[in-house]
Amino acid sequence: MALSNVLETPLPGFNFDNAARNAALEGLYDGGQTPKPMKTGTTIAGVVFKDGVVLGADTRATSGEVVADKMCSKIHYIAPNIYCCGAGTAADTEKTTELLSSNLTIFSQTSGRNPRLVMAVNILQDMLYRYHGQIGASLILGGVDCTGNHLYTVGPYGSVNKMPYLAMGSGDLAALGILEDRYQQDMELDTAKELVRVAIHAGIMNDLASGNNIDICVITREGVDYIRPYQESEYKDRNMKYRYRPGTTPVLTKKVVPLKLEVVQESVQQMETI
Protein backbone atom coordinates (compact mmCIF):
# COMPACT_ATOMS: atom_id res chain seq x y z
CA MET A 1 0.00 0.00 0.00
CA ALA A 2 1.48 3.38 -0.97
CA LEU A 3 1.73 5.78 1.94
CA SER A 4 1.32 9.38 0.89
CA ASN A 5 3.51 10.74 3.62
CA VAL A 6 6.79 8.98 2.84
CA LEU A 7 9.01 9.49 -0.14
CA GLU A 8 11.12 6.55 0.92
CA THR A 9 9.97 3.54 2.91
CA PRO A 10 11.00 3.74 6.58
CA LEU A 11 13.91 1.52 7.51
CA PRO A 12 12.99 -1.59 9.44
CA GLY A 13 13.81 -1.77 13.13
CA PHE A 14 14.46 1.07 15.54
CA ASN A 15 15.43 4.57 14.48
CA PHE A 16 18.22 5.97 16.65
CA ASP A 17 18.75 9.17 14.69
CA ASN A 18 17.99 11.30 17.73
CA ALA A 19 20.09 9.34 20.22
CA ALA A 20 23.12 11.61 19.87
CA ARG A 21 21.01 14.73 20.21
CA ASN A 22 19.24 13.38 23.29
CA ALA A 23 22.54 12.49 24.91
CA ALA A 24 23.86 16.02 24.27
CA LEU A 25 20.66 17.54 25.71
CA GLU A 26 20.90 15.46 28.87
CA GLY A 27 24.33 16.83 29.48
CA LEU A 28 22.93 20.38 29.49
CA TYR A 29 20.48 19.80 32.33
CA ASP A 30 21.48 19.34 36.00
CA GLY A 31 20.60 15.92 37.24
CA GLY A 32 20.66 14.58 33.68
CA GLN A 33 16.87 14.76 33.27
CA THR A 34 15.58 16.11 29.96
CA PRO A 35 12.40 18.18 30.29
CA LYS A 36 9.26 16.09 29.97
CA PRO A 37 6.86 16.85 27.10
CA MET A 38 4.06 19.05 28.29
CA LYS A 39 0.65 17.49 28.75
CA THR A 40 -1.85 19.97 27.45
CA GLY A 41 -4.61 18.67 29.67
CA THR A 42 -7.81 17.09 28.45
CA THR A 43 -10.67 14.88 29.39
CA ILE A 44 -11.73 12.52 26.61
CA ALA A 45 -14.05 9.54 26.94
CA GLY A 46 -15.81 6.99 24.80
CA VAL A 47 -18.57 4.46 25.32
CA VAL A 48 -19.95 1.59 23.23
CA PHE A 49 -23.74 1.42 23.21
CA LYS A 50 -26.34 -0.75 21.53
CA ASP A 51 -26.25 0.82 18.06
CA GLY A 52 -22.72 2.24 17.94
CA VAL A 53 -20.18 4.36 19.76
CA VAL A 54 -20.37 7.72 21.57
CA LEU A 55 -17.18 9.82 21.89
CA GLY A 56 -16.89 12.89 24.10
CA ALA A 57 -14.27 15.54 24.82
CA ASP A 58 -13.82 18.89 26.56
CA THR A 59 -12.66 21.88 24.52
CA ARG A 60 -9.84 23.45 26.53
CA ALA A 61 -6.27 23.52 25.22
CA THR A 62 -3.71 24.74 27.72
CA SER A 63 -0.17 25.93 27.29
CA GLY A 64 1.35 25.79 30.74
CA GLU A 65 -0.93 27.78 33.05
CA VAL A 66 -2.67 29.70 30.23
CA VAL A 67 -5.73 28.54 28.33
CA ALA A 68 -4.54 28.64 24.74
CA ASP A 69 -7.81 27.67 23.04
CA LYS A 70 -11.25 27.73 24.68
CA MET A 71 -13.04 26.01 21.85
CA CYS A 72 -10.55 23.58 20.39
CA SER A 73 -11.80 20.50 18.57
CA LYS A 74 -10.45 17.30 20.04
CA ILE A 75 -12.61 14.82 18.16
CA HIS A 76 -10.87 14.27 14.83
CA TYR A 77 -12.24 12.77 11.64
CA ILE A 78 -10.47 9.60 10.53
CA ALA A 79 -12.92 7.97 8.12
CA PRO A 80 -16.68 8.23 7.46
CA ASN A 81 -17.15 5.49 10.05
CA ILE A 82 -14.25 6.24 12.41
CA TYR A 83 -13.55 9.22 14.68
CA CYS A 84 -10.68 9.75 17.12
CA CYS A 85 -10.37 11.75 20.35
CA GLY A 86 -6.86 13.01 21.03
CA ALA A 87 -5.17 13.84 24.34
CA GLY A 88 -1.58 14.84 24.96
CA THR A 89 0.49 17.22 22.85
CA ALA A 90 -1.97 19.06 20.61
CA ALA A 91 0.24 19.18 17.53
CA ASP A 92 1.04 15.48 17.82
CA THR A 93 -2.59 14.38 18.07
CA GLU A 94 -3.60 16.67 15.21
CA LYS A 95 -0.88 15.57 12.79
CA THR A 96 -1.02 11.90 13.71
CA THR A 97 -4.78 11.73 13.13
CA GLU A 98 -4.49 13.68 9.89
CA LEU A 99 -1.81 11.30 8.66
CA LEU A 100 -3.92 8.29 9.57
CA SER A 101 -6.99 9.78 7.90
CA SER A 102 -5.06 10.52 4.73
CA ASN A 103 -3.66 7.00 4.48
CA LEU A 104 -7.02 5.41 5.17
CA THR A 105 -8.63 7.53 2.45
CA ILE A 106 -6.16 6.09 -0.04
CA PHE A 107 -6.91 2.63 1.25
CA SER A 108 -10.69 3.17 0.97
CA GLN A 109 -10.31 4.16 -2.64
CA THR A 110 -8.12 1.20 -3.63
CA SER A 111 -10.20 -1.40 -1.82
CA GLY A 112 -13.68 0.09 -2.25
CA ARG A 113 -14.47 -0.56 1.40
CA ASN A 114 -14.71 1.50 4.56
CA PRO A 115 -11.63 0.91 6.72
CA ARG A 116 -11.88 -1.25 9.80
CA LEU A 117 -11.08 -0.07 13.32
CA VAL A 118 -8.39 -2.76 13.73
CA MET A 119 -6.61 -1.41 10.68
CA ALA A 120 -6.57 2.18 12.02
CA VAL A 121 -5.43 0.95 15.43
CA ASN A 122 -2.63 -1.17 14.00
CA ILE A 123 -1.31 1.64 11.80
CA LEU A 124 -1.32 4.04 14.76
CA GLN A 125 0.31 1.54 17.06
CA ASP A 126 3.00 0.80 14.51
CA MET A 127 3.84 4.48 14.06
CA LEU A 128 3.77 5.43 17.75
CA TYR A 129 5.87 2.42 18.73
CA ARG A 130 8.42 3.30 16.08
CA TYR A 131 8.83 6.72 17.73
CA HIS A 132 9.11 5.27 21.24
CA GLY A 133 6.83 7.76 22.94
CA GLN A 134 8.45 10.84 21.41
CA ILE A 135 5.08 11.54 19.78
CA GLY A 136 2.93 12.46 22.78
CA ALA A 137 -0.45 11.32 21.53
CA SER A 138 -2.97 9.37 23.63
CA LEU A 139 -5.86 8.54 21.37
CA ILE A 140 -9.31 7.04 21.76
CA LEU A 141 -10.59 5.58 18.49
CA GLY A 142 -14.21 4.71 18.07
CA GLY A 143 -16.25 3.58 15.11
CA VAL A 144 -18.58 1.15 13.43
CA ASP A 145 -17.38 -1.24 10.73
CA CYS A 146 -18.50 -4.48 9.14
CA THR A 147 -17.44 -6.47 12.22
CA GLY A 148 -19.36 -4.37 14.77
CA ASN A 149 -19.02 -1.38 17.13
CA HIS A 150 -15.53 -0.93 18.54
CA LEU A 151 -13.66 1.35 20.93
CA TYR A 152 -9.87 1.31 21.25
CA THR A 153 -7.24 3.38 22.98
CA VAL A 154 -3.67 3.80 21.76
CA GLY A 155 -1.05 5.17 24.14
CA PRO A 156 1.97 7.28 23.20
CA TYR A 157 4.33 4.32 23.49
CA GLY A 158 2.17 2.17 21.26
CA SER A 159 0.07 0.25 23.79
CA VAL A 160 -3.43 -0.72 22.71
CA ASN A 161 -6.51 -1.43 24.82
CA LYS A 162 -9.91 -2.55 23.62
CA MET A 163 -12.71 -1.74 26.05
CA PRO A 164 -16.45 -0.93 26.02
CA TYR A 165 -15.73 2.35 27.87
CA LEU A 166 -12.55 4.42 28.03
CA ALA A 167 -11.21 7.74 29.28
CA MET A 168 -7.86 9.41 28.63
CA GLY A 169 -6.12 12.72 29.35
CA SER A 170 -5.34 14.56 32.59
CA GLY A 171 -8.99 14.29 33.66
CA ASP A 172 -9.25 10.58 32.92
CA LEU A 173 -9.48 9.39 36.51
CA ALA A 174 -12.44 11.64 37.25
CA ALA A 175 -14.21 10.55 34.07
CA LEU A 176 -13.35 6.90 34.63
CA GLY A 177 -14.90 7.05 38.08
CA ILE A 178 -18.22 8.00 36.52
CA LEU A 179 -17.90 5.41 33.74
CA GLU A 180 -16.97 2.59 36.10
CA ASP A 181 -19.97 3.33 38.26
CA ARG A 182 -22.64 3.87 35.64
CA TYR A 183 -21.64 1.94 32.52
CA GLN A 184 -24.09 -0.75 31.37
CA GLN A 185 -23.98 -3.03 28.35
CA ASP A 186 -26.31 -2.30 25.39
CA MET A 187 -27.37 1.16 26.52
CA GLU A 188 -29.79 3.28 24.50
CA LEU A 189 -28.50 6.33 22.64
CA ASP A 190 -29.74 8.96 25.11
CA THR A 191 -28.41 7.08 28.12
CA ALA A 192 -25.03 6.73 26.44
CA LYS A 193 -24.85 10.43 25.50
CA GLU A 194 -25.80 11.45 29.04
CA LEU A 195 -23.21 9.10 30.52
CA VAL A 196 -20.43 10.53 28.37
CA ARG A 197 -21.55 14.07 29.15
CA VAL A 198 -21.48 13.43 32.88
CA ALA A 199 -18.06 11.77 32.59
CA ILE A 200 -16.53 14.71 30.71
CA HIS A 201 -18.25 17.09 33.12
CA ALA A 202 -16.58 15.31 36.04
CA GLY A 203 -13.24 15.77 34.29
CA ILE A 204 -13.94 19.47 33.72
CA MET A 205 -14.97 20.03 37.34
CA ASN A 206 -12.09 18.18 38.95
CA ASP A 207 -9.19 18.83 36.60
CA LEU A 208 -7.71 22.30 36.13
CA ALA A 209 -6.46 21.51 32.67
CA SER A 210 -9.88 20.51 31.33
CA GLY A 211 -12.76 22.90 30.87
CA ASN A 212 -15.09 24.98 28.77
CA ASN A 213 -17.56 23.18 26.51
CA ILE A 214 -18.30 19.51 25.89
CA ASP A 215 -18.30 18.03 22.37
CA ILE A 216 -20.09 14.77 21.60
CA CYS A 217 -19.79 12.56 18.53
CA VAL A 218 -22.22 9.69 17.92
CA ILE A 219 -21.23 7.06 15.35
CA THR A 220 -23.74 4.45 14.20
CA ARG A 221 -24.18 2.23 11.15
CA GLU A 222 -26.46 4.88 9.63
CA GLY A 223 -24.00 7.74 10.00
CA VAL A 224 -22.31 10.23 12.27
CA ASP A 225 -23.82 12.94 14.49
CA TYR A 226 -21.11 15.42 15.51
CA ILE A 227 -22.63 17.74 18.15
CA ARG A 228 -20.35 20.66 18.83
CA PRO A 229 -20.92 21.95 21.42
CA TYR A 230 -23.16 19.48 23.20
CA GLN A 231 -23.06 21.44 26.38
CA GLU A 232 -21.76 24.97 26.74
CA SER A 233 -20.03 26.01 29.94
CA GLU A 234 -21.98 28.40 32.15
CA TYR A 235 -18.95 30.70 32.29
CA LYS A 236 -19.43 32.42 28.97
CA ASP A 237 -16.69 34.45 27.40
CA ARG A 238 -17.15 38.25 27.40
CA ASN A 239 -19.22 39.71 24.61
CA MET A 240 -16.29 41.37 22.84
CA LYS A 241 -18.27 44.62 22.51
CA TYR A 242 -16.63 47.80 23.68
CA ARG A 243 -19.56 50.20 23.58
CA TYR A 244 -20.24 52.01 26.80
CA ARG A 245 -23.47 53.71 27.81
CA PRO A 246 -23.41 57.51 27.64
CA GLY A 247 -22.87 58.70 31.24
CA THR A 248 -20.50 55.83 32.18
CA THR A 249 -17.73 58.38 32.42
CA PRO A 250 -18.89 61.66 34.17
CA VAL A 251 -18.37 64.87 32.14
CA LEU A 252 -16.57 67.54 34.16
CA THR A 253 -16.15 70.46 31.68
CA LYS A 254 -17.25 71.20 28.16
CA LYS A 255 -15.65 73.68 25.76
CA VAL A 256 -16.99 74.33 22.24
CA VAL A 257 -14.68 76.11 19.74
CA PRO A 258 -16.34 76.84 16.35
CA LEU A 259 -13.98 76.67 13.41
CA LYS A 260 -14.05 79.85 11.20
CA LEU A 261 -13.80 78.88 7.55
CA GLU A 262 -13.06 81.32 4.66
CA VAL A 263 -14.46 80.60 1.21
CA VAL A 264 -11.40 80.74 -1.09
CA GLN A 265 -12.76 79.40 -4.36
CA GLU A 266 -16.20 78.46 -5.62
CA SER A 267 -16.90 76.55 -8.80
CA VAL A 268 -20.11 75.00 -10.09
CA GLN A 269 -20.10 71.93 -12.28
CA GLN A 270 -23.33 71.08 -14.05
CA MET A 271 -24.26 67.44 -13.71
CA GLU A 272 -25.78 65.65 -16.68
CA THR A 273 -29.26 64.65 -15.74
CA ILE A 274 -31.64 62.71 -17.93
Binding site: T110, S111, R113, R116, V118, M119, V121, N122, I123, D126, C146, T147
Partner: protein
Protein backbone atom coordinates in the same frame (compact mmCIF):
# COMPACT_ATOMS: atom_id res chain seq x y z
CA UNK B 1 3.55 8.38 -40.82
CA UNK B 2 6.91 6.64 -40.77
CA UNK B 3 7.20 3.78 -38.36
CA UNK B 4 9.98 4.19 -35.86
CA UNK B 5 12.57 1.44 -35.92
CA UNK B 6 13.44 -0.37 -32.77
CA UNK B 7 17.01 -1.13 -31.82
CA UNK B 8 16.08 -4.81 -31.84
CA UNK B 9 15.92 -5.16 -28.08
CA UNK B 10 12.13 -5.08 -27.84
CA UNK B 11 12.05 -8.85 -27.97
CA UNK B 12 14.72 -9.25 -25.35
CA UNK B 13 13.64 -6.97 -22.55
CA UNK B 14 10.31 -5.40 -21.61
CA UNK B 15 10.35 -2.26 -23.71
CA UNK B 16 7.74 -1.33 -26.29
CA UNK B 17 7.96 -2.53 -29.85
CA UNK B 18 7.12 -0.01 -32.61
CA UNK B 19 3.60 -1.47 -32.78
CA UNK B 20 3.15 -0.82 -29.08
CA UNK B 21 3.49 -4.42 -27.94
CA UNK B 22 5.51 -5.87 -25.10
CA UNK B 23 6.99 -9.03 -26.59
CA UNK B 24 8.41 -10.30 -23.33
CA UNK B 25 4.97 -10.21 -21.71
CA UNK B 26 3.49 -12.11 -24.66
CA UNK B 27 6.25 -14.69 -24.40
CA UNK B 28 5.46 -15.00 -20.70
CA UNK B 29 1.90 -15.98 -21.60
CA UNK B 30 3.28 -18.65 -23.94
CA UNK B 31 5.49 -19.87 -21.11
CA UNK B 32 2.39 -20.67 -19.06
CA UNK B 33 1.64 -23.43 -21.55
CA UNK B 34 5.07 -24.97 -21.08
CA UNK B 35 3.81 -26.69 -17.97
CA UNK B 36 1.37 -28.63 -20.12
CA UNK B 37 -1.40 -28.44 -17.53
CA UNK B 38 -4.85 -26.86 -17.45
CA UNK B 39 -6.67 -25.54 -14.40
CA UNK B 40 -10.31 -24.64 -13.91
CA UNK B 41 -12.00 -22.69 -11.11
CA UNK B 42 -15.71 -22.01 -10.52
CA UNK B 43 -17.50 -19.86 -7.97
CA UNK B 44 -20.75 -21.28 -6.62
CA UNK B 45 -23.42 -19.78 -4.41
CA UNK B 46 -21.63 -20.56 -1.16
CA UNK B 47 -18.35 -22.10 -2.26
CA UNK B 48 -15.41 -21.75 -4.66
CA UNK B 49 -13.72 -24.74 -6.30
CA UNK B 50 -10.36 -25.01 -8.08
CA UNK B 51 -9.40 -28.12 -10.04
CA UNK B 52 -6.12 -28.89 -11.76
CA UNK B 53 -4.38 -31.84 -13.35
CA UNK B 54 -1.81 -33.84 -11.45
CA UNK B 55 0.80 -35.24 -13.78
CA UNK B 56 3.60 -37.26 -12.20
CA UNK B 57 5.80 -38.07 -15.21
CA UNK B 58 8.55 -39.96 -13.39
CA UNK B 59 7.94 -43.22 -11.49
CA UNK B 60 10.67 -42.24 -9.06
CA UNK B 61 8.91 -38.97 -8.08
CA UNK B 62 7.20 -38.83 -4.72
CA UNK B 63 3.64 -37.91 -5.76
CA UNK B 64 2.94 -36.33 -2.37
CA UNK B 65 5.41 -33.53 -3.03
CA UNK B 66 3.96 -32.65 -6.44
CA UNK B 67 1.20 -30.07 -6.13
CA UNK B 68 -0.14 -26.93 -7.76
CA UNK B 69 -2.62 -26.02 -5.04
CA UNK B 70 -1.31 -23.78 -2.28
CA UNK B 71 -2.84 -22.37 0.87
CA UNK B 72 -2.06 -18.68 1.30
CA UNK B 73 -4.09 -17.90 4.43
CA UNK B 74 -6.79 -19.69 6.39
CA UNK B 75 -9.44 -18.45 3.98
CA UNK B 76 -7.50 -17.99 0.75
CA UNK B 77 -6.02 -20.64 -1.51
CA UNK B 78 -4.56 -20.51 -4.98
CA UNK B 79 -4.01 -22.75 -7.98
CA UNK B 80 -0.88 -22.04 -10.01
CA UNK B 81 -0.62 -22.74 -13.73
CA UNK B 82 2.63 -22.47 -15.65
CA UNK B 83 6.30 -22.78 -14.82
CA UNK B 84 6.64 -24.52 -11.48
CA UNK B 85 9.64 -22.58 -10.18
CA UNK B 86 8.04 -19.21 -10.97
CA UNK B 87 4.81 -20.45 -9.39
CA UNK B 88 6.52 -21.34 -6.12
CA UNK B 89 8.24 -17.96 -6.00
CA UNK B 90 4.93 -16.14 -6.48
CA UNK B 91 3.21 -18.27 -3.85
CA UNK B 92 5.97 -17.45 -1.39
CA UNK B 93 5.55 -13.75 -2.13
CA UNK B 94 1.75 -14.00 -1.79
CA UNK B 95 2.12 -15.69 1.59
CA UNK B 96 4.50 -12.96 2.70
CA UNK B 97 2.14 -10.21 1.53
CA UNK B 98 -0.80 -11.82 3.33
CA UNK B 99 1.16 -12.28 6.56
CA UNK B 100 2.51 -8.74 6.37
CA UNK B 101 -1.03 -7.39 5.96
CA UNK B 102 -2.15 -9.33 9.02
CA UNK B 103 0.76 -7.93 11.02
CA UNK B 104 0.34 -4.36 9.83
CA UNK B 105 -3.45 -4.09 9.95
CA UNK B 106 -4.64 -6.74 12.36
CA UNK B 107 -7.09 -8.62 10.13
CA UNK B 108 -6.92 -11.12 7.29
CA UNK B 109 -6.24 -9.73 3.84
CA UNK B 110 -9.31 -9.75 1.56
CA UNK B 111 -8.93 -11.84 -1.63
CA UNK B 112 -9.25 -8.92 -4.00
CA UNK B 113 -6.60 -6.89 -2.14
CA UNK B 114 -4.15 -9.81 -2.27
CA UNK B 115 -4.77 -10.36 -5.97
CA UNK B 116 -4.36 -6.64 -6.60
CA UNK B 117 -1.05 -6.65 -4.73
CA UNK B 118 0.28 -9.65 -6.72
CA UNK B 119 -0.91 -8.03 -9.96
CA UNK B 120 0.87 -4.78 -9.05
CA UNK B 121 4.08 -6.70 -8.39
CA UNK B 122 3.73 -8.50 -11.74
CA UNK B 123 3.19 -5.15 -13.45
CA UNK B 124 6.48 -3.86 -12.06
CA UNK B 125 8.24 -6.76 -13.81
CA UNK B 126 6.72 -5.58 -17.11
CA UNK B 127 8.38 -2.19 -16.67
CA UNK B 128 11.70 -3.06 -15.09
CA UNK B 129 14.31 -3.98 -17.66
CA UNK B 130 16.37 -6.05 -15.24
CA UNK B 131 13.59 -8.51 -14.29
CA UNK B 132 11.58 -10.70 -16.60
CA UNK B 133 7.86 -11.31 -16.07
CA UNK B 134 7.01 -14.59 -14.32
CA UNK B 135 5.62 -17.35 -16.54
CA UNK B 136 2.71 -18.37 -14.36
CA UNK B 137 -0.94 -17.53 -13.81
CA UNK B 138 -2.39 -17.30 -10.30
CA UNK B 139 -6.03 -18.13 -9.64
CA UNK B 140 -7.13 -17.14 -6.11
CA UNK B 141 -10.08 -18.79 -4.41
CA UNK B 142 -11.23 -17.36 -1.13
CA UNK B 143 -13.93 -16.34 1.27
CA UNK B 144 -14.40 -12.64 2.00
CA UNK B 145 -15.97 -11.69 5.34
CA UNK B 146 -18.17 -9.05 3.74
CA UNK B 147 -18.69 -10.27 0.16
CA UNK B 148 -18.74 -14.07 0.45
CA UNK B 149 -17.03 -16.51 -1.99
CA UNK B 150 -14.55 -14.80 -4.34
CA UNK B 151 -12.63 -15.97 -7.41
CA UNK B 152 -9.79 -13.83 -8.79
CA UNK B 153 -7.13 -14.40 -11.44
CA UNK B 154 -3.94 -12.47 -12.13
CA UNK B 155 -1.60 -12.98 -15.07
CA UNK B 156 1.98 -12.06 -16.08
CA UNK B 157 0.84 -8.78 -17.62
CA UNK B 158 -0.25 -7.50 -14.22
CA UNK B 159 -3.94 -7.61 -15.10
CA UNK B 160 -6.37 -9.00 -12.54
CA UNK B 161 -10.09 -9.50 -12.46
CA UNK B 162 -12.84 -11.21 -10.50
CA UNK B 163 -14.54 -14.16 -12.18
CA UNK B 164 -17.64 -16.32 -11.92
CA UNK B 165 -15.67 -19.12 -13.59
CA UNK B 166 -12.27 -19.18 -15.24
CA UNK B 167 -9.56 -21.41 -16.67
CA UNK B 168 -5.83 -21.19 -17.28
CA UNK B 169 -3.21 -23.25 -19.07
CA UNK B 170 -2.88 -25.16 -22.34
CA UNK B 171 -6.60 -25.75 -23.02
CA UNK B 172 -7.67 -22.41 -21.63
CA UNK B 173 -9.81 -21.32 -24.58
CA UNK B 174 -11.71 -24.59 -24.86
CA UNK B 175 -12.30 -24.72 -21.12
CA UNK B 176 -13.50 -21.11 -21.04
CA UNK B 177 -16.06 -21.69 -23.81
CA UNK B 178 -17.31 -24.82 -22.02
CA UNK B 179 -17.72 -22.82 -18.82
CA UNK B 180 -19.46 -19.98 -20.64
CA UNK B 181 -22.15 -22.38 -21.84
CA UNK B 182 -22.65 -23.76 -18.35
CA UNK B 183 -22.67 -20.40 -16.58
CA UNK B 184 -25.24 -19.04 -19.02
CA UNK B 185 -27.69 -21.66 -17.85
CA UNK B 186 -27.15 -21.46 -14.11
CA UNK B 187 -25.30 -19.12 -11.77
CA UNK B 188 -25.95 -20.28 -8.20
CA UNK B 189 -24.29 -23.68 -8.04
CA UNK B 190 -24.41 -25.79 -4.91
CA UNK B 191 -21.23 -27.33 -3.55
CA UNK B 192 -21.80 -30.67 -5.28
CA UNK B 193 -22.71 -29.09 -8.59
CA UNK B 194 -19.70 -26.77 -8.56
CA UNK B 195 -17.19 -29.57 -8.06
CA UNK B 196 -18.84 -31.80 -10.62
CA UNK B 197 -19.01 -29.04 -13.24
CA UNK B 198 -15.34 -28.22 -12.71
CA UNK B 199 -14.22 -31.84 -13.01
CA UNK B 200 -16.43 -32.53 -16.02
CA UNK B 201 -15.10 -29.38 -17.71
CA UNK B 202 -11.53 -30.63 -17.43
CA UNK B 203 -12.52 -34.14 -18.45
CA UNK B 204 -14.41 -32.96 -21.53
CA UNK B 205 -11.82 -30.47 -22.69
CA UNK B 206 -8.85 -32.81 -22.20
CA UNK B 207 -10.74 -35.98 -23.20
CA UNK B 208 -9.37 -37.83 -20.19
CA UNK B 209 -11.28 -40.18 -17.95
CA UNK B 210 -9.78 -39.06 -14.65
CA UNK B 211 -8.59 -41.28 -11.84
CA UNK B 212 -8.47 -39.71 -8.36
CA UNK B 213 -4.67 -39.66 -8.45
CA UNK B 214 -4.66 -37.54 -11.64
CA UNK B 215 -6.63 -34.64 -10.17
CA UNK B 216 -6.11 -32.01 -7.51
CA UNK B 217 -9.16 -30.29 -6.03
CA UNK B 218 -9.13 -27.33 -3.64
CA UNK B 219 -12.31 -25.96 -2.13
CA UNK B 220 -13.53 -23.29 0.26
CA UNK B 221 -17.10 -23.04 1.53
CA UNK B 222 -19.01 -20.67 3.78
CA UNK B 223 -19.76 -23.55 6.16
CA UNK B 224 -16.37 -25.12 6.38
CA UNK B 225 -13.07 -24.46 8.04
CA UNK B 226 -11.17 -22.46 5.44
CA UNK B 227 -9.33 -23.54 2.33
CA UNK B 228 -9.10 -27.32 2.03
CA UNK B 229 -7.35 -29.60 -0.44
CA UNK B 230 -9.45 -32.73 -0.97
CA UNK B 231 -7.91 -36.15 -0.41
CA UNK B 232 -8.00 -38.89 -3.09
CA UNK B 233 -10.91 -40.66 -1.37
CA UNK B 234 -12.95 -37.47 -1.34
CA UNK B 235 -12.16 -36.81 -5.00
CA UNK B 236 -13.19 -40.39 -5.76
CA UNK B 237 -16.62 -39.77 -4.23
CA UNK B 238 -17.22 -36.92 -6.64
CA UNK B 239 -15.86 -38.84 -9.65
CA UNK B 240 -18.19 -41.73 -8.87
CA UNK B 241 -21.15 -39.36 -8.53
CA UNK B 242 -20.20 -37.76 -11.84
CA UNK B 243 -19.96 -41.09 -13.69
CA UNK B 244 -23.31 -42.20 -12.23
CA UNK B 245 -24.90 -38.99 -13.47
CA UNK B 246 -23.62 -39.77 -16.94
Amino acid sequence: MSRGSSAGFDRHITIFSPEGRLYQVEYAFKAINQGGLTSVAIRGKDCVVAVTQKKVPDKLLDAKTVTHLYKITENIGCVMTGMTADSRSQVQRARYEAANWMYKYGYEIPVDMLCKRMADISQVYTQNAEMRPLGCCMIFVGLDEELGPQLYKCDPAGYYCGFKATAAGVKQTEATSYLEKKVKKKLDWTYQQTIETAISCLATVLSIDFKPSELEVGIITTKGSGFKILSETEIDVHLVALSERE
